[in-house]
Symmetry: C2
Subunit: 284 residues, 2 copies
């Protein structure tokens, strides 16, 4: 086994970071997996799902609702603190959800499970935080069951955000977020590169379905959730600190970005579209 990769979640776990993650559900962030989950669940009532890098676990909990009668999800992350938060969220969904989910600290680079241990291996916005994404995909393929198991991945692309109304400060925000992500050792172009990582990890092209999915923040409640979270990041988040440390932004620049987000949140015709790469690998 090669030396373990450095295990740090670059953005950290400040509420400014985790809050908008909790907007995420299976429906808005793992829709490409759902037909496969339902198909496999019809054939196997004891479906075993691994959710790698589950974070605060809102997608995990909503995936649980798509499982067959005896299906289970094991959620991993590298932080015990965030797994505690995920556990609390799962319990709040009631026993039908929480009884299906267990939690275990694990690195995506060295999953402590035997080959083929899971029917479905899912990871959402995990590879973009890793220095060696293909190594993590190789591990996910290893623990996925041969003969039809599925690895499901989704990664954002920091180059694929569009805002309306157009504001230079929002574009500066996107650039700052990108630069901080890269400075943290992450991958800014995961959406477009996801397929290449999967092939580097040993999958064959014919076994991979590649596509793109989106997030749209435009309805008033979605604008408030997203814009409020971005303003929190600018006021108190790791992005602010790192931006100052790296000389990427000034106090005045931060204030202008905050005002631009406030204006965007207030505009009835506002949209933010973000594109994410999505792949399904069917393991032979």
């Amino acid at each position: 086994m090669t030396a373990p990769q450095v295990e740090i979640y670059g953005p950290g776990y400040h509420p400014s970071q985790t809050k908008h993650h909790e907007w995420r559900t299976a429906e808005n962030s793992a829709a490409h997996l759902l037909p496969h989950l339902e198909r496999l669940g019809r054939a196997n009532p004891r479906l075993r799902v691994l959710d790698v890098g589950a974070g605060s676990g809102t997608i995990t909990a909503s995936l649980a609702r798509y499982l067959p009668s005896e299906g289970t999800i094991l959620a991993t992350d590298i932080s015990d603190d965030i797994l505690d938060r995920a556990r609390t969220h799962a319990e709040a969904q009631g026993p039908d959800v929480s009884r299906r989910i267990s939690f275990q600290r694990a690195s995506a680079y060295e999953l402590p499970f035997p080959d083929g241990a899971f029917d479905v291996v899912h990871a959402h916005q995990v590879l973009c935080h890793l220095a060696s994404p293909a190594d993590a995909v190789r591990e996910m393929l290893r623990v996925c069951a041969p003969g039809g198991g599925v690895v499901s991945l989704r990664e954002t692309d920091m180059g694929m955000w569009c805002f309306w109304p157009a504001r230079e400060e929002l574009e500066q925000f996107r650039q700052l977020a990108t630069d901080v992500m890269v400075a943290n050792g992450g991958q800014a172009e995961g959406g477009r590169r996801l397929l290449s990582w999967v092939l580097q990890a040993g999958a064959e092209r014919a076994d991979v379905e590649a596509g793109f999915g989106t997030w749209c923040y435009s309805a008033p409640q979605d604008r408030r959730a997203w814009g409020g979270s971005m303003i929190d990041r600018l006021r108190t988040g790791q992005m602010r600190d790192k931006g100052f440390d790296l000389g990427l932004v000034t106090e005045r620049g931060i204030e202008e970005m905050i005002r631009a987000w406030e204006d965007w949140m207030a505009a009835d015709d506002a949209t933010l579209g973000i594109m994410n790469g999505e792949v399904i690998v069917k393991k032979k």
Copy 2:
């Protein structure tokens, strides 16, 4: 009535332009409409659909498969030639499809139909070719039936293309396509602006669902269809001629773009993602 807008389809109807349009189906290009079409069709077996700017009509024909028993689609365009092509395509799909579709020459700015004449009004990649998109949306809202009729729109965004493997020449192609579109009087940022056009046309925000959808060209057959069509455009299309006329590109630049598309078509890990704005307006 205000003076009619100039009615020209900027890109023209050369095969280099129309060929890749014929890859489009209801499933890959109007998925946001399908649940509404099925919902409305269950309540009304005589559902009346208007497809504005139907072009070569492949989406029209595949929408016909989602209609209730006595449902019909009227397809309009400003070109009789392209409507002939659409009619031929519809006839090739067999009588179950062709009996439902009729064709009529019409401008999106002045739809020759009474108020509320259609239960569903659909337009795909039409507004991006117009100088006054909101005026066309106002017409579509006018001919849509009040009390629950639906206007369904989808518009691309030329700023939201991502390529892998990264190649400067593909980015130059995207920029050339954008510049030619704008020189033809079109709108390059329709994806992000679609909601704003709909509100300018008089819709209320609470009656609009806004989102984004994507095209992905990555599977071998999709790479061949898209790449081949882009190379045709560079070799013989209106984009080439206009690019030369406007001094946007050189012969050598064109050749380099063609080679870049050929390499992209041959790469197993190649992806092209394109994001489109999508809205559904429910007419009160």
